[in-house]
Symmetry: C3
Subunit: 404 residues, 3 copies
């Protein structure tokens, strides 16, 4: 052979010679069983757990959601504190726009006809005074209701308190109505329209499913057993599914009663989908949970309330307002979910990992064969060649290599 030919030949050999390990077949049913059993275990894990249970072969995407809500219902109140009054959606839903969070007033402390003026503070240890010296002009107590004028005035026949500059008369929020004012709120209904997108898979869904028609939507009401797809929820049902109880509210004057003291309820919509099968199989699952803890051991700051005001102008242009401390239930529509769809990368990754584990089986079987089997020494002799020993006999074996 000429040299260049030899070189290109060497390259070809280098590129296309196939190097394969020499193997030894051991016809031992014990070792074979260990080996096959190990393989079976790994296979079971891959097929059973990774594929069926975990669906690890799927790529995932998170949901993007848009929610609109619309509350319906009205109430009538007739208490000693207020005039008889009819309430509709525009009165008791705040903010009026149905976002993914809406609030229904159930109780309130109303302070009408407040004006910018001066009045004595509500009595409490830090506001009571004997004379003007106890009150500092310009001082504003963070726990108080206004800026002190420096005067000490009669709050009632028995109490004197510092006068403050504020919206007067001051709100007295200690005497909260004992019975929720808008008890009928439990019978209000809310229509939740939810539109979701999985951007990676370009999948769009609504919670008004294809089989729902207008006439059904007009009369239906969500019920986990009979109408699980109806997007209209009665507040009473939401509250009771969340584990709260109305009855106890009316009977025991419960401090943590949601209708008296307010609370935050989550309307949780789970859009977890498996998009590998016919994509229509992607339904919302509703659940309800109270989000502000009423746990007896960690019950600090329960309830939910906020203040807002309606502003008016009197004939002579003076601004007055009606301050409302509103207690009620805030409903947070929380949408979450993960969609999965077959993806090559996760499949390869999980397959590769399983193959790697599968390759541990021969290692384990070898160890078992070479330590636990009766014929281990014979197996070892056949499987493992010790270079040292060979070296001793190299002169002998060397002859055969020496022939080329």
């Amino acid at each position: 052979m000429s040299k260049p030919a030899g070189f290109s030949q060497r390259c070809l050999h280098y590129a296309f010679d196939y190097q394969t390990p020499k193997t030894l077949v051991i016809p031992d049913i014990g070792v074979g069983c260990v080996f096959r059993f190990g393989q079976l275990l790994v296979l079971l894990y891959v097929v059973g757990y990774v594929c069926v249970v975990r669906k690890a072969y799927q790529e995932t995407d998170s949901v993007i959601s848009s929610v609109t809500t619309k509350v319906k219902g009205f109430a009538f109140t007739n208490t000693t504190d207020m005039d008889p009054r009819f309430w509709d959606v525009a009165d008791y839903v705040i903010p009026s726009q149905g976002d993914n969070s809406f609030f229904v007033i159930t109780n309130m402390v109303v302070t009408p006809n407040q004006t910018q003026s001066r009045c004595p503070e509500v009595p409490n240890p830090s506001t009571t005074c004997m004379d003007d010296c106890d009150c500092i002009e310009g001082h504003s107590d963070p726990r108080g209701n206004g800026i002190q004028t420096g005067l000490c005035e009669n709050y009632s026949t028995t109490a004197k308190t510092c006068e403050v500059l504020s919206w007067c008369p001051l709100e007295i929020d200690t005497k909260l109505p004992e019975h929720a004012l808008l008890a009928s709120a439990e019978n209000f209904t809310v229509l939740i329209k939810n539109s979701i997108t999985y951007p990676k898979f370009n999948v769009h869904r609504r919670n008004i499913l294809p089989h729902i028609n207008s006439s059904y939507l007009k009369r239906c009401e969500f019920n986990r057993a009979t109408d699980p797809d109806c997007p209209i929820f009665r507040l009473k049902n939401i509250v009771s599914e969340a584990g709260e109880d109305f009855k106890t509210c009316w009977i025991m004057d419960d401090l943590y009663c949601m209708f008296l003291k307010g609370g935050v309820l989550g309307i949780i919509i789970d859009w977890s989908c498996d998009l590998d099968w016919w994509a229509g199989k992607c339904y919302p699952k509703y659940s309800f949970r109270r989000l502000d803890s009423k746990h007896p051991v960690n019950n600090v700051a329960p309830g939910y309330n906020f203040r807002f005001a309606k502003y008016y102008k009197t004939q002579d242009g003076e601004e007055t307002r009606t301050l409302i401390k509103a207690y009620g239930i805030r409903f947070d529509v929380i949408v979450f979910g993960t969609a999965g769809k077959f993806g090559i990368v996760p499949t390869i990754v999980n397959l590769g990992a399983a193959l790697s584990i599968l390759r541990l089986i021969p290692v384990v079987t070898d160890w078992f064969m070479l330590t636990c089997m009766r014929k281990r020494d014979r197996y070892r002799k056949q499987k493992v060649t010790n270079l040292n020993e060979d070296a001793e006999t190299e002169s002998v074996s060397g002859t055969s290599y020496g022939t080329h």
Copy 2:
């Protein structure tokens, strides 16, 4: 050798003896080609699909976003129902604060001067009556507008309906203005300021890109072709990019026309970024989509509207309100995105998986070699040693092992 020395020697041997498989080189171009072709395929998958297409070597993070919006524009209405009226942002944007969701009124049913009083119901099958016996005092029909007083009153000269206690006069929302009241809304513009963070990579971005200066921002308007980075959007363009059409609205009195009946439009900002290259290459991509379905086969509950009220007090302290049923377009600014950056763990995982797959190639090649090749028997003899055969000749080979 003394025993302790032998023990430590054995340990050393155990730790540092290197056990390597004996291999057989097969200079067969067919087998070699199968082997190399298999390797090439896996390599192509790894480099091409995993690295270039999927960027599976990257760690990912989800976007955290904050949005402010500001609508600009005014309108003038002069219809038979209402006095001529000028509308500005404070009038038609609700809520006034520019959050990631804003609503522009385009049509409305206004019921002014409502007071808490009594009036006959709006006629419909369940409210018409012949005499007082048909009306039950205290009854409140969920589809009605108030609490029945038990009287049957003349609604008009032809119809008698039950009297209710409610905010009177009642709203008549059946005669919706045929032409969207605020048709000029299509010319309003909205400035969207969006600030995002990828917390894992500590990357912060705004949608007002570095190359945008104040003077450009004052005059620009988003246009996919000419001004793709301008964060000021004309509502008309958003609506038409979302596949809705204004013209058809005016011509055919379309039930699903967005400007008449309202709707929800998504302004979708995609912040997907590849942070491996110079990080500045991370731009927002805008797209627009109608979120409430107007699909002809699943057209239940289209549109978007809600009721709100403005409260006034008359001279004698009585509360009146103007009830507004507002139809309009709610714009939801939806920000999503995933940033990717080179990460060691995903790289190793994908590399490991690819190596695992790569190790399948010899298995396949061996199978090919031992079953499909012409010289398969010769290859098998050389590659595979059967312990049984050896056992028969053990007496012979045993002699050589017996020397040590």
Copy 3:
């Protein structure tokens, strides 16, 4: 042996014969060291980086969050523009409901007693006119404030501008109060209640930690050093932790001063949790960041403001409004986080990948052994059998195979 027995035997052999590679033990401390060192490196990566640093053996889930906020504090203003006025929560927090985004007014331009009428435009190059010919009836300039009536009127003794139909008098927002009106806003406090869920792990947490009791909650205030768990924040501290400075605002009339011109501040709550250890070890970490850039090179569109109106009715039923252009700080409560918990699939995936990499070590060591070692030729001879050579000696070795 009978044929059927031979067939079933073959099957059994096929299934349970164990094929193991023949190996060569090389008692070379150099090669052994390379091998062990490689293994050590991979092991260190797996244990150190993958397990300890990255916790790649964990499954992850994203947080679902619900936030309520409640601002406390009041202010008193006494400027030349306005009457002395007392401000409380209902006045300065918009919207009144404490959502995950709340706005505190710090400065404003108030335009009271606006009515639907006609008035001359605010002078600027495009609105000034000489006579009626310069004004087009029905024209509405997007930069103007209303629809032109076609008349040219005296705005002041020196300027004539086109008359417009609008809410008059027009707002003049160029003379923004130089000192933030509600400077006391810095002393307001906000209570943030945050309730989170990791749905995959069914873990619920609140930011009011178990060890916080009612009395502590009444007096505490967040302080990174002394009270890191208190969920009550003083606005001053939030702003200063976000890197803004109040002092400079008052001294230099800073264009970018947050209290004068408004801004958006993120209250970022990081709920990253490791749920493998006792699950209680899952605390919120608070941080604060300004979200609207005030970066000197990219300072376009700084600040944050919006307009809203309070509507009144005069005695004779005419609607008037007070337009307020509110500057202030919008606080966005941004909750993010990832929880991790031991999962079999990610563990297997990472283990498999590590094993795959581990299997690269023999390849490297073999290469090192067969190219760099002194005895490389001897090692090669022992390890690698070249089929060709054997073929030459096949007649010889063939004899032994020929015996069966």
